[in-house]
């Protein structure tokens, strides 16, 4: 039981990692990007190609992938999101869904249905573990992922709170027109925010490839997990995303021990139960955020 809880929490780190970009983009641009999962898978393929075919060391692959994906984020914002967001609330959903269809099938065309993994690029790390007192084993990779998630969330939080671009992003999220009055170019800020989002997506995609296998259509489940984690945690709150990821991870690990399909069923189930509870008792909606604020104040 303790083992499952530990593994569940660590798994939650991965979900927080994949969810934070979705949550970040939603809080800044009010857009839920349906291509989020496919983009993470695309990043994983990019790193895979660089490492397997170009034989680059992993850190170099990662840096190249981050740069490429950041530019892709900028372009996606400029060419697609910016334009479709002007057409109302519904169009971005449709255009990002179209984008995900293109990405998934293009990946399939290029790489076929074989599942891939980045495990060979990280050698021992994929199975190494530490033994904790009480006969508990924790994998080094899940711990690394969890720590990365915490560092990334903290970094985003600091960036939003203390840097110039962070302030501009918050101002734009609050009210783009008023932000424009004080000289903030909302289009540029959104493009930067999209680029940052895709950096987080690349990190998530890399870890997806390290901890599991992926194939061209892996994006859809990743999108669902990311969405579930960010909604459970209270959409738009970065630390809530971590809490949401952990709750999702715990539910899945416990579900998996009951039934082969339990992993997914328990995850979706917990998400719907929390959603339902929150809709019935609206006060609960702001609970995680309030608790965190109180915790931070104390």
């Amino acid at each position: 039981m303790t083992n499952q809880i530990v593994q569940g929490i660590l798994l939650g780190g991965y979900y927080a990692l994949i969810a934070c970009g979705l949550s970040f983009m939603f809080s800044v641009m009010r857009i839920i990007n349906l291509a989020h999962g496919s983009l993470a898978v695309a990043a994983a393929y990019l790193i895979f190609v660089l490492s397997e075919r170009a034989q680059l060391p992993l850190w170099a692959c990662f840096i190249v992938a981050v740069a490429v994906m950041a530019v892709a984020g900028w372009l996606i914002q400029r060419l697609i999101l910016d334009r479709s967001a002007r057409g109302g609330q519904l169009l971005p959903i449709l255009s990002t869904f179209g984008l995900s269809m293109v990405i998934e099938n293009a990946l399939f065309e290029q790489f076929g249905a074989d599942t891939r993994s980045l495990a060979s690029a990280i050698g021992d790390l994929s199975w190494d573990s530490w033994e904790l007192p009480g006969g508990l084993y924790v994998g080094k990779l899940p711990v690394l992922i969890f720590v990365t998630a915490v560092v990334l969330l903290a970094g985003l939080q600091l960036m939003l709170s203390y840097t110039r671009i962070g302030r501009a992003i918050r101002a734009t999220a609050e009210d783009p027109d008023t932000a424009g009055l004080v000289g903030i170019d909302a289009r540029r800020v959104n493009a930067v925010a999209a680029a940052i989002t895709l950096v987080t997506v690349t990190i998530a995609g890399m870890f997806l490839g390290m901890r599991a296998t992926f194939e061209p259509y892996s994006g859809a489940p990743q999108l669902l997990f990311a969405f579930e984690a960010s909604v459970i945690g209270g959409a738009g709150s970065l630390w809530g995303t971590l809490a949401g990821g952990i709750i999702l991870g715990l539910a899945q690990t416990c579900g998996a021990s009951l039934h082969p399909l339990g992993f997914l069923i328990a995850g979706h189930g917990v998400f719907l139960i929390i959603l339902f509870a929150r809709l019935m008792f609206p006060d609960l909606a702001s609970m995680p955020a309030r608790l965190i604020r109180r915790g931070a104040a104390a």
Partner: protein, 338 residues
């Protein structure tokens, strides 16, 4: 010079739309006798076209009129097929089972609407997807279906292949006519005015005293029912139920494509979109993955550059409406002179 020569008139039917209505009746009658004329392959394909029209019209009702973009409508498609298999196992005639299964889908969708309609925009879109994924897993758990093994609609064997094909064709035709006719009638009465007001501006509609939630719930259940019918019909012509084929998000992708290309929120648009999708599938479906990439690119381009779709463009350009669900103001030429 008199101030007002003749008053302007509020019209629904124009000469063009009356002719269009007559043409629709003739086309439907023509379609009804086709099984005696065309070969088996063509009849199967036409039945598929009718299913596409149903799906496009239902997704359009939800998104175009209700303002509810769902990425989980494959759930109702899958449930329509699953319930049919389940009911047919009890010894029910397969065609009766199809009808009852569709009604069951509508019944199931009602409590779901109570929860899901509280979500907004993208949250509703992906929330529906999550529910669909969960439903898929639950169907996997059914001992009759055995995971992804699936189950066939064996009782269809009671019908000879030729008769079976014709019955499915006629059922699809009747279902399409009924659902489209029902939607058309709904959009033209008082509820329809509410629905279109909600589409244009939800808050404004609410402030006029329209019960937004009740109206949306009606569309939600209608769309679920219609897509359930589509799933049951698809199962009847494919005969085998395999969960992952029916609960695939691909179905929603097709619906989105048809409605985006045809014209979202336009009654004629969904039908046009379904016909275009059908033609593209017939001509390019064999290209496999490139065909899917092409669908994605076209959907993306339409959402960016032609968000009202082809019918929206035609309507704005020429001011025509074949299936009038709104009103139009006709100003006689002489009063313009004043």
């Amino acid at each position: 010079m008199s101030l007002v020569v003749s008053p302007s008139m509020v019209q629904r039917w124009t000469r063009l739309s009356r002719r269009a209505a007559a043409a629709v009746v003739i086309v439907l009658l023509g379609l009804a006798v086709l099984p005696g004329v065309l070969g088996a392959g063509a009849i199967d394909r036409l039945a598929a076209l009718f299913v596409y029209v149903i799906m496009a019209a239902m997704w359009n009702a939800l998104a175009g009129y209700g303002g509810l973009v769902s990425v989980g409508q494959q759930m109702f498609f899958g449930l329509g097929a699953y319930f049919t298999v389940r009911l047919a196992e009890t010894g029910l005639d397969p065609f009766v089972a199809m009808g009852m299964a569709s009604l069951l889908v509508a019944v199931v969708s009602y409590p779901l609407s109570l929860v899901m309609l509280r979500l907004k925009g993208g949250e509703f879109a992906i929330g529906m997807w999550v529910v669909s994924a969960l439903t898929h897993l639950m169907v996997n758990l059914d001992g009759l279906i055995q995971g992804e093994t699936g189950r066939s609609l064996i009782s269809l064997n009671a019908y000879a292949p030729g008769a079976r094909r014709d019955i499915i064709y006629w059922l699809a035709l009747v279902a399409m006519t009924g659902l489209l006719g029902g939607l058309f009638a709904l959009l033209r009465n008082r509820t329809g005015a509410s629905i279109q007001a909600i589409r244009d501006n939800e808050e404004a509609a609410g402030s006029l005293g329209i019960d937004v939630t009740r109206t949306k719930r009606l569309i939600f259940v209608l769309a679920a029912f219609g897509i359930g019918v589509a799933g049951a019909l698809w199962l009847a012509s494919a005969t085998t139920f395999q969960p992952k084929t029916y609960f695939s998000v691909q179905w929603t992708a097709y619906m989105i494509f048809m409605v985006l290309v045809g014209g979202i929120g336009r009654f004629e648009g969904a039908i046009l979109g379904a016909v275009i999708f059908f033609l593209i599938e017939t001509w390019f479906g064999a290209l496999g993955v490139w065909y899917l990439i092409g669908l994605g690119v076209v959907a993306l381009l339409f959402s960016l550059f032609m968000p009202l779709g082809l019918w929206g463009a035609i309507e704005t350009r020429f001011g025509v409406s074949l299936m009038p669900v709104g009103y139009r103001l006709e100003i006689p030429p002489q009063s313009r002179k004043d």
